[in-house]
């Protein structure tokens, strides 16, 4: 059975204008934070979005959460475009797509009780009576492993891991179909990470909610995701089912990402790629393949032409001339 497509991202672009001057603004160009990316997430599935800082992961998640307007392209949730929504339609969409962010110290309002934070999406939509909402808060706290009486407490009384549980409870309140997880465990102690990841998996198994997991940590991605997309400078360079990708890394950039992780068996010699230099400025991305300035396998053609994503094996897409022949 092919699972139904929940989220479809089509040729999404987000360019930020860079200007100089206050009164007579002069355009210096555009930062292409997200430049023509497409992917889909099926209901109840997890897509991992990997890449180094500044590659456009967070902009992508903001676009999907409708916190930013795209320059071009569209995002469809259950077949309906999400941008340009107003009033009731926007509220309906908000109930379906929720988020948990990276920094548990910044994602809770210090002046609001935990219960109010969790119930906020319900209060805003007039979901039910005070009694029903209180019951739902108890239920949600129980689901994320906190005690019902903790609803009356303020965020400063909780640890980072507990705060992330509260943020998750708040995201689950409106029974969303999609939760954007922007680095949900990277700010936590290693000992807490596994707990939160397992909690996320349990919730997914029970509620059939889909996740977009934005991460830079490959171990997290491998543990959590069904599909993985690797981003570099606003583009997806490799996109495949996670099992396939972790067994057969094709793009040189993805290889470099894997080389940067400590290997499980350090004695075994593997071909390592250590990247030199910095990521080029997205204000002025290199022509041709964006990775050619740092790629150890770059050919003359890479500087002239831009490779497109193409299927190398079933479900495994790569944008690199090295794998074109296949």
């Amino acid at each position: 059975m092919i699972p139904e497509t929940l989220l479809r991202v089509e040729r999404l672009r987000k360019h930020y204008p860079v200007t100089k001057g206050i009164l007579f603004t002069k355009s210096l160009g555009f930062v292409r934070a997200v430049d023509d990316i497409s992917f889909t997430i099926a209901a109840g599935e997890t897509l991992g979005l990997v890449g180094e800082s500044g590659c456009g992961k967070t902009t992508t998640s903001k676009l999907i959460l409708n916190l930013e307007e795209p320059t071009d392209g569209q995002v469809l949730l259950q077949g309906k475009p999400i941008h340009g929504l107003r009033g009731e339609a926007l509220r309906e969409y908000r109930a379906l797509a929720q988020a948990v962010f990276q920094d548990p110290w910044s994602s809770l309002n210090p002046r609001m009780t935990v219960g109010r934070t969790i119930a906020e999406s319900l209060i805003v939509t007039g979901w039910g009576s005070g009694e029903e909402i209180a019951e739902r808060i108890r239920e949600l706290l129980d689901q994320v492993g906190l005690r019902a009486e903790q609803a009356m407490q303020y965020p400063h009384e909780f640890s980072g891991g507990q705060r992330q549980r509260i943020a998750l409870a708040a995201a689950l309140a409106s029974r969303p179909k999609l939760i954007v997880l922007d680095e949900p465990v990277s700010a936590l102690d290693v000992s807490i990470r596994a707990q939160i990841m397992n909690l996320l998996k349990d919730i997914q198994a029970r509620d059939n909610v889909a996740y977009l997991l934005v991460a830079h940590d490959l171990a997290t991605v491998r543990h959590m995701t069904d599909q993985t997309a690797v981003m570099y400078l606003g583009r997806i360079v490799e996109y495949a089912p996670t099992k396939l990708l972790f067994g057969n890394v094709l793009h040189p950039y993805t290889k470099a990402l894997f080389s940067a992780v400590l290997p499980p068996r350090p004695n075994r010699q593997e071909d390592e790629i250590v990247l030199a230099g910095d990521v080029p400025s997205p204000l002025n991305p290199p022509g041709g393949c964006r990775f050619h300035t740092r790629c150890p396998f770059a050919m003359a053609r890479c500087a002239r032409e831009e490779p497109q994503l193409h299927e190398v094996e079933p479900g495994h897409l790569v944008s690199c001339f090295l794998h074109e022949a296949a």
Binding site: L65, S107, P110, M112, T117, E120, S121, V124, A170
Partner: protein, 274 residues
Amino acid sequence: MHRVPWIPIVIIAVMISMAVFAPQLAPYSPIDQTLRDKLLPPVWVDGGSMKYILGTDAFGRDILSRLIFGARVSLIVALLALTAGGGVGLTIGIVAGYFGGTVDNVLMRLVDAAFTFPAILFALLLAVTMGQGLTTLVIAISLLLWASFARIIRGEVLALKQRDFVALARVRGCSPARIMLTHILPNVLNTFMVLVTLNIGVVIIAEASLSFLGAGVPPPTPTWGLMISDGRGRIADAWWISVIPGIAITLLVLSVNLFGDWMRDRLDPRLRQL
């Protein structure tokens, strides 16, 4: 950690009770003249008596009674002006900071304009056009205050809206108005309260200056500024008429500022977490 400023707190409490219970506390009427007893010095000066502890002015009015009733005007003006000016500044600061862009630009240029405008001149203009009185005084002082409130609160909001909980509130479907009321406002109230206490002194001095210049509450209603103004012609022979209300203003402003400093340190969450 800073110690609780007990002396300023006691002084402020005394002044507030003076204002509240003025009719009960004052030994004489603050406006009735007893010309027979004019220009009597305070009790500790030669010629003074227990009848008029702080002496009398040129019309034989009891200085102590006028001081007690004067506290009323000063504190009422402070309360009203801080509520009006502070409230407007708080609202404008939140709106400008949250929306940013053109809204922010327009509002902040208004703030700049308010800063360049000579407040005393404006108050005199108001007094001439609207007539002297409490309302004029409160409006004039509010106009002096709102801009500094707006600027500081806006800065606070700019930092606050970068926090993730504001973006998450949008994701949960909160409207801008709701975000400003439930997420931004409660988080700037600390700063606001500190600004209020730090500005009480400014307001009291402004009230005194405007009354001194004749743009405040009309005589014979006693205010501290007016009392100083009354006595300035006799500073050589009857210094107490001006000096005693002067000391009262100094004490109150100093106490309020010390209290405000302590509040600021107390409410700063970065200091509190230590």
